[in-house]
């Protein structure tokens, strides 16, 4: 058994290391900031140009945050972290240390959560200038963000462990598996225009529930009661994602052992 204080120290060590590395990779950091900002500006221009669509700007801001910013930074970032650890052989070194898999997972979540918080502030600052507004409870929005980051990181561990052995494979794994999930998550098209079978499959997609929950609170000021199904789904998925993430990490370590 690992002590709680050691688990906390390890979690903080992993998170701090990842943030420091992110800070040092300035070019990556610039692209990380530019991508959602550019998306928000482009969507903002399109929505502002069409008076009939202006009402949808609040929902678009929420969709861009969930479907573009957090998808690429939290999911893509986690896949990239796993691939880099494998490539640099540091995963093997971590395995020889007393680092607990849960501490590693939570460290990644914590780092991604802090990055997500910065993205939220940045994206909503741009959205504010364009005319989009956040209407709902900040606490509820924060809770949905927390659950979404957990879910994205869990999926990132799963994809990273199975499909990304090298850095070059990160984009491939993300495009092949992540982007279809994004489409099925209602990021590009509303769920209503999809065929019935696709809608049924989409209901199993956590990204759909992240989008709907965050759009619900941010654009329509919905409360816990109205969003209880999405919140329950996301909470359940978070537990699953964490278990899946830690399990994927363990499997990855087992693979490294045989390497």
């Amino acid at each position: 058994m690992i002590g709680r204080s050691l688990l906390l120290a390890q979690t903080l060590a992993v998170a701090q290391r990842l943030l420091l590395e992110q800070w040092r990779q300035r070019r990556g950091l610039i692209f990380w900031a530019v991508f959602p900002a550019a998306m928000m500006l482009l969507f903002g221009l399109v929505y502002a140009h069409n008076a009939s669509m202006r009402a949808g700007l609040d929902a678009a801001a929420a969709g861009i945050l969930m479907g573009a910013a957090l998808f690429f930074s939290c999911l893509g970032g986690t896949v990239a972290i796993i691939a880099a650890e494998r490539e640099r052989r540091t995963l093997r070194r971590l395995l020889a240390s007393p680092l607990h898999p849960s501490a590693y997972f939570l460290g990644v979540v914590l780092a991604q959560l802090l990055l997500a918080a910065v993205q939220v502030v940045m994206l909503y600052a741009i959205a504010w200038f364009i005319g989009a507004r956040y209407h709902g409870s900040l606490w509820l929005g924060g809770l949905i963000l927390l659950l979404s980051v957990f879910a994205y990181v869990g999926m990132g561990f799963f994809l990273g462990a199975r499909f990304a052995r090298r850095s070059e494979e990160v984009v491939v794994a993300l495009s092949a598996i992540g982007v279809p999930l994004l489409v099925l998550g209602g990021t590009f098209f509303p769920l209503e225009i999809m065929p019935g079978a696709m809608q049924a499959v989409a209901q199993l997609n956590p990204m759909l529930h992240m989008n709907q929950a965050f759009k619900g609170v941010a654009a329509y000021a919905l409360g816990v009661n109205e969003l209880r199904f999405e919140l329950a789904f996301l909470t359940l998925f978070c537990v699953l994602a964490m278990a899946l993430g830690v399990r994927s990490y363990r499997q990855l370590l087992a693979l490294e052992q045989r390497a």
Binding site: L6, A9, Q10, L20, E21, P98
Partner: protein, 311 residues
């Protein structure tokens, strides 16, 4: 006193390949033991089992008298690993790498700061304190890698071919560092392909073949097991004739391809060897005392084409 590391009857199989087949070894506290053997003989597998990166199929490993299986993950805090690959974070500074691993091992802030400062100084990393690890030369990275393995003051240090990927100058530097650790009483288990490395650093050497130790002892003890005191290397235009003459003199032929090599029952001077051979086909002769390389070849019965280096 209990041994720092006691390994008994380890077996490990990968698919149909039996990598370890009853491997046993004892490492006393404060001792440096070198594992030598040809590629694929199971050296790295032994280290991986000791570091809990692999599980043995059978056999027992005891660390400081306690079974590894009972220690569980706690054993990882008592062993320091410096693997072949320099597993460091290239975007971090040397001290940041040390701090990160120190935190994983649960060192308190005060303890960690003192230890990192101590290692930065003793490993001469001060001048590179502001250089990201990715921009350090291979030798400096390997130095830091060794320092990282020591950050939590392990009771056993495991080095897997520590100088395999560095240049000659960096290798000599690393050897001096390892000698310093040895002289300060650190228990070390290392693998190497370089016999000179083992000869210089190890108190005891274990020769492996077919997944088990076939000979273990200090370098002089292993040399004593060679049936000869010197080796004569001979360049000859007629190998058969030279071999025949050498056999008549009671010398043992050690190598057949390339330059001939004979194991001499007693130390002879160069002049004595030349006079004894007294043959026009011989164009060059050199005589050297028996080395660990000769013991290696003698005890492993390895053909000269085996992968080993003697630099």
């Amino acid at each position: 006193m209990k041994a720092a590391l006691q390994i008994d009857g380890l077996h490990k199989r990968f698919g149909s390949h039996q990598v370890l087949d009853g491997f046993s070894l004892q490492v006393a506290r404060g001792e440096v033991v070198g594992l030598l053997g040809p590629n694929g003989c199971g050296k790295s597998t032994v280290l991986n089992i000791v570091c809990q990166l692999l599980q043995a199929d059978a056999g027992q490993v005891q660390l400081m008298g306690e079974p590894l299986a009972d220690l569980g993950s706690k054993a990882r805090s008592r062993v320091g690993l410096c693997a072949q690959d320099c597993a460091l974070y290239p975007d971090l500074l040397p001290a940041e790498n040390l701090h990160f691993f120190g935190r994983l091992y649960g060192l308190s802030a005060a303890e960690r700061h003192a230890r990192v400062a101590e290692l930065m100084e003793s490993f001469g990393l001060g001048p590179h304190a502001r250089t990201r690890v990715g921009r350090l030369s291979g030798g400096w990275r390997q130095r830091l890698h060794l320092a990282v393995a020591l950050v939590h003051r392990p009771e056993l240090l495991v080095l897997d071919e520590p100088s395999a990927a560095v240049d000659v100058a960096a290798r000599l530097d690393l050897w001096r560092l390892i000698e310093g650790l040895r002289d300060s009483g650190t228990t070390i288990l290392l693998t190497s392909h370089q016999l000179s490395e083992a000869e210089r650093l190890c108190n005891s050497v274990a020769l492996m073949q077919g997944g088990r130790v076939i000979a273990q002892g200090s370098v002089p003890e292993l040399l004593a097991r060679v049936q000869g005191e010197a080796v004569a290397s001979v360049a000859s235009s007629d190998h058969a004739a030279t071999e025949q003459r050498a056999r008549r003199l009671g010398w043992t032929v050690r190598q057949r391809s390339g330059a001939l090599s004979f194991l001499l029952p007693r130390r002879l001077s160069l002049r004595e060897v030349v006079d004894a051979l007294d043959a026009p086909e011989v164009s060059a002769v050199s005589v050297q005392a028996v080395s660990l390389e000769d013991a290696y070849l003698e005890l492993l019965g390895a053909p000269q084409t085996k992968n080993y280096t003697t630099d």
